[in-house]
């Protein structure tokens, strides 16, 4: 009956919404990577790469979720997780920088699968840390987070790209939310929890606010700096057609 009781609390519903938003952002990126990596393959291999890629992402998320539940009870790990989350969140706000090298850009099936698997590992880890932070120890929320992320990874790429096109603000809100849950998680680490509860209970709301503000401010500032670096419009398809003798 504990489960039914949990459903009736506001904390649960707030947590659920947080997890949905976290997944839109941090499962969506994984879906987009799989779709892009598979794109240059011949059609019959594309399906294979997407199926394997999504399958691996799902498997990694399940395993990592189980590990995360256990690990987050240990001292220091919530603090480390919070720092990681802040970094993930800031990165979401940075523009595509044009200089970064990908894992591999050759066009065969194995190269695509390699790209996908590395993306799955990195992005599943990020996703699970964020979901675990938002779930605040509730196993129900953790499992729901997992359940929501799976269809997003498998079917979500096109839909999510359209969603972000229409409402780019989702990314900023998502990043701010990650900052929020990071702050929330940091003050509940076993190392600091007792001290915070006894001496600085206000940190339970101040730390999340500070996390969210930090992420948005740092992200916007770094993005503005990067934008100023290359102001010129990049032309990807420069060319001319001269069918008619003029």
């Amino acid at each position: 009956m504990e489960f039914m009781n949990e459903l009736q609390t506001a904390v649960f519903w707030v947590g659920l919404w947080q997890i949905i938003l976290v997944n839109i952002v941090l499962s969506g990126d994984n879906a987009v990577v799989i779709a892009l990596a598979a794109r240059s393959l011949p059609p019959h291999q594309q399906k294979k790469a997407i199926a394997w890629g999504a399958g691996a992402a799902v498997a990694m998320r399940i395993v990592l979720t189980i590990i995360a539940v256990e690990l987050l009870r240990w001292p220091w790990l919530k603090l480390i997780g919070a720092v990681l989350l802040l970094w993930i969140a800031v990165k979401l706000l940075l523009p595509e920088d044009g200089g970064s090298e990908g894992v591999d850009s050759s066009d065969n099936l194995w190269a695509a699968i390699k790209t996908i698997l590395i993306a799955d590992l990195v992005m599943s880890l990020d996703n699970v840390i964020a979901v675990a932070a938002a779930a605040k120890g509730s196993i129900t929320l953790l499992v729901l987070g997992l359940a929501i992320s799976i269809p997003l990874v498998i079917f979500g790429a096109t839909m999510l790209m359209k969603l972000m096109d229409r409402w780019p603000i989702i990314i900023t809100i998502g990043a701010a939310l990650l900052g929020w849950v990071a702050g929330d998680m940091a003050v509940t680490d076993p190392v600091v929890k007792d001290w915070v509860d006894a001496n600085a209970a206000w940190l339970h709301w101040a730390a999340p606010v500070a996390g969210a503000v930090f992420v948005v401010a740092a992200g916007k500032w770094l993005a503005a700096r990067a934008e100023a670096g290359h102001k010129e419009v990049v032309d990807l398809g420069e060319g001319s057609e001269t069918k008619a003798p003029h």
């Binding site: 987009v32 990596a37 990165k91 706000l93 920088d97 894992v103 790209m161 419009v233 069918k243």
Partner: protein
């Protein structure tokens, strides 16, 4: 020769704008230098996707999608035996269109009023509306 920037996205509206341009090219005494431009959206998720996929692959993706969006306008101009240049940019449509017009010294922007995905503004597309506000040069809209 007048340098015309013609933003297109493969939509019906941009097709009508190109057709109109072809028909009315006689307006310009010495003809016009036509620059087609398609603007592709950035991939969302900051640089999380590009740091895995690689910049080259993303550029290739934008280029392929851009060429597909340009195809219709290119065919129309080919059929009319007109000479043109084409370009693909990445970013916010109106922003890139206006920056492009400024950087490449275009004399006029010539575009349709309602491209793809502009439900937010039923009479005048949101891109066209924004271009009118930002553009450094005169804008001609074709309904």
């Amino acid at each position: 020769m007048l340098k015309l920037l013609v933003p297109v996205d493969g939509s019906e509206s941009s097709g009508r704008a190109v057709a109109h341009l072809i028909k009315k090219l006689g307006w310009f005494k010495d003809g016009a230098e036509i620059h087609l431009l398609n603007v592709q959206h950035q991939i969302p998720y900051g640089n999380r996707v590009s740091s895995v996929i690689g910049h080259d692959k993303l550029a290739q993706y934008h280029q392929e999608e851009g060429m597909a969006a340009l195809k219709k306008a290119m065919q129309q101009l080919d059929a009319a035996k007109l000479k043109y240049h084409y370009h693909i940019g990445v970013g916010d449509e109106a922003d890139v269109i206006c920056r492009y017009a400024k950087e490449k010294g275009c004399d006029q922007i010539f575009m349709g009023t309602r491209g793809l995905g502009s439900v937010s503004n039923l009479v005048l597309g949101s891109v066209a509306t924004k271009v009118i506000h930002l553009s450094p040069v005169p804008v001609l809209l074709v309904k």
